[in-house]
């Protein structure tokens, strides 16, 4: 009989008999006691048990696990380490020249990604917005989303193939009589390679939210601007851009928040010992120190440092944008 209920499409056609309402939901009392809530909703709470266990074990326990940054950890021992060693590991990485190199590389890659990968989706969205033929717009969008759906391993594989000495890019360079460049082996090319592949992979997907924001702009504003004599450029400057500003700020804050965690997986896939001087970032360094060399406490200290910078960045960006433009994440 319940199946027949589900197949009846229009909701709200079956009003419960008003006389004997079941557990009162409509007007809930100001405060229900826990005991009553548990008795009434124990089945709902029971559904939450496994997911809560997941969050506890796989999300919150690792947060606490960061204490091994201040304790000596021994493989096979407690995941919280064996004994307190204070700031020993922090001092260790602060005096480690390799750490400062990867720190600089992280800032470089993060900065370049922000400068190039943040504005391009905006420009692309504005251009797409001017396309009048819907089918064409759809087509360009569908194509530009495509790289986003592929595994990062595939993106890295395609990047390496394109940049190989016999690859397409060197093929084009050959037309201009240029000698092949070994993009993958030269440290000075790594940043370009990384940012380029990042643009290729993310630009199209990044336009989605902007395009959605563009559709919410009131047509009357354009009408008014035209009557005031604004040309196309002025309309974009004074109507379109302010219209998508909240979206821009939100995404900018999010980007700043992930600034330090620059594409860990992609760097790991694209770099090699030859390009370490420019490619090695904090997260790849701590991966090698921790997982490959078993210095778990040392790597955890670096990871904690990275996470704290990230948290500080995102909270200050959020605070700043709330103070200045009145948009914020929370």
């Amino acid at each position: 009989m319940s199946t027949s209920t589900t197949s009846a499409p229009p909701p709200g056609t079956r009003q419960p008999p008003s006389g004997k309402a079941p557990p009162r939901r409509g007007r809930r009392p100001a405060r229900t006691g826990w005991r009553r809530a548990l008795r009434r909703d124990w089945q709902l709470y029971s559904l939450a048990v496994l997911p809560l266990l997941f969050f506890l074990v796989f999300r919150y326990l690792p947060m606490l696990g960061n204490v091994i940054a201040f304790r000596r950890f021994e493989p096979g021992g407690s995941i919280f380490g064996e004994q307190w060693v204070g700031l020993r590991y922090v001092e260790m990485f602060l005096s480690d020249p390799t750490f400062w190199q990867v720190f600089r590389n992280t800032l470089w890659l993060g900065g370049l990604t922000l400068v190039f990968c943040f504005p391009i989706p905006i420009v692309l969205a504005l251009l797409l917005n001017e396309v009048r033929r819907r089918a064409l717009k759809r087509f360009v969008q569908s194509v530009s989303y495509l790289p986003h759906f592929l595994s990062i391993v595939i993106v890295a594989g395609i990047t390496l193939q394109m940049l190989a000495t016999d690859g397409a890019i060197n093929h084009v360079l050959g037309w201009f009589g240029h000698d092949p460049i070994r993009f993958i082996q030269e440290p000075e090319w790594f940043r370009t390679v990384y940012v380029g592949s990042e643009i290729w992979q993310t630009a199209g997907w990044g336009t989605i939210l902007y395009l959605a924001a563009l559709t919410t702009i009131d047509e009357d504003l354009y009408e008014a601007a035209r009557i005031d004599g604004a040309n196309r450029w002025q309309q974009i400057w004074h109507v379109t851009l302010p219209g998508i500003r909240p979206t821009m700020i939100t995404l900018l804050i999010l980007n700043i928040g992930t600034f330090m965690a620059v594409g860990f997986e992609k760097v790991l896939l694209l770099y090699n010992p030859l390009t370490y001087p420019t490619a090695d970032v904090i997260s790849t360094y701590l991966y090698r120190a921790g997982v490959e060399s078993n210095s778990f406490s040392y790597a955890a200290a670096i990871g904690l440092f990275e996470a704290i910078i990230g948290l500080v960045l995102i909270t200050s960006a959020n605070h700043l944008s709330r103070r200045t433009v009145g948009t914020s994440l929370w």
Binding site: N66, L124, F149, L150, T165
Partner: protein, 290 residues
């Protein structure tokens, strides 16, 4: 309707050219990889392969098809994706349903527990230590359990459940259905669209993932195909000849890589035209409600 000015028509023309370039730049690498996968090694080395295969042959496909490790790893990917998606769907659906009940006492705390993990996470090393000491290494659980709930997907699903009419569930309750019964027999049948979307979201991300397997699988027969591909790639970039970095040596197996790339992305490319719009609407929903 205002007649478009001349400068605007010029702009439209330029815009068309720019967007055409975007399409070409996006698609060309795919065309090139496909062409390489059907070409002869010699002509790839000579840098002759661009859009069409040169020296068409299926030798490399045959080599890859005969590699039992490739098939084993491909099968692993299918298995891991199926298991991990199932676990993720069960946990996400349960929690999203609980969170969608506005009257539930402590709901705010339950939402907070999930949302906080979007902004702060434990980091690589503590996670690695945890999974290792739980003894999950070399099992599918190392992939499925630590990624069982994506908070983003959770919020999308919660928003959908909240949009269902409450009268329906109240009526079912009067008819004597328990909470479990309501979820299984009323809510889920009504939520086929969002369930299908979430299955897509999870399965695409598990299909594409490589890092957890790379971290937690020690034996090559346990690896998913993404790690198989990664090992091909890293063999080509470092080639064990970091010092010499001989350009010729580093190109070994260029078309084996191309074939593997094509075969690994094939399932995604096949479903892409159908799933793309669900992803897009999912992102919007998540952005609005999340």
């Amino acid at each position: 309707m205002v007649k478009p000015s001349r400068s605007y028509r010029v702009f439209q023309g330029v815009n068309g050219v720019v967007l055409t370039l975007v399409v070409i730049v996006t698609l060309y690498p795919f065309a090139n990889i496909i062409a390489r996968s059907f070409s002869s090694e010699r002509q790839i080395r000579a840098g002759e392969v661009t859009l069409w295969p040169k020296g068409f042959n299926l030798t490399t496909y045959k080599i890859v098809f005969q590699d039992s490790m490739f098939w084993r790893n491909y099968g692993n990917t299918v298995l891991y994706t199926a298991v991990a998606t199932t676990v993720a769907m069960v946990l996400t659906t349960c929690y999203a349903y609980v969170l969608s009940k506005k009257h539930l006492k402590g709901r705010g705390v339950l939402v907070g527990v999930a949302v906080f993990t979007m902004f702060f996470t434990g980091g690589l090393i503590p996670n690695y230590v945890l999974v290792t000491s739980l003894g999950l290494k070399n099992s599918v659980w190392a992939i499925a359990l630590p990624n069982a709930i994506s908070v983003f997907n959770l919020l999308v699903m919660k928003a959908f459940f909240e949009s269902l009419p409450t009268e329906l569930e109240e009526a079912a309750q009067i008819d004597g259905l328990s909470t479990y019964g309501i979820l299984l027999r009323i809510v889920l049948p009504l939520s086929k669209a969002v369930v299908a979307t979430m299955v897509l979201f999870y399965s695409v991300s598990f299909w594409n993932s490589w890092f957890s397997a790379f971290l937690y699988m020690d034996k090559s027969e346990l690896m998913p195909v993404t790690v198989y591909l990664r090992n091909l790639i890293s063999g080509a970039t470092t080639g064990g000849n970091a010092g010499a970095a001989d350009a010729q040596l580093s190109q070994v197996g260029a078309n084996i890589q191309a074939v593997t790339i094509v075969l690994t992305s094939l399932p995604i490319l096949c479903v892409y035209p159908f799933v793309q719009r669900y992803f897009v609407s999912g992102v919007m929903l998540g952005a609005v409600k999340g």
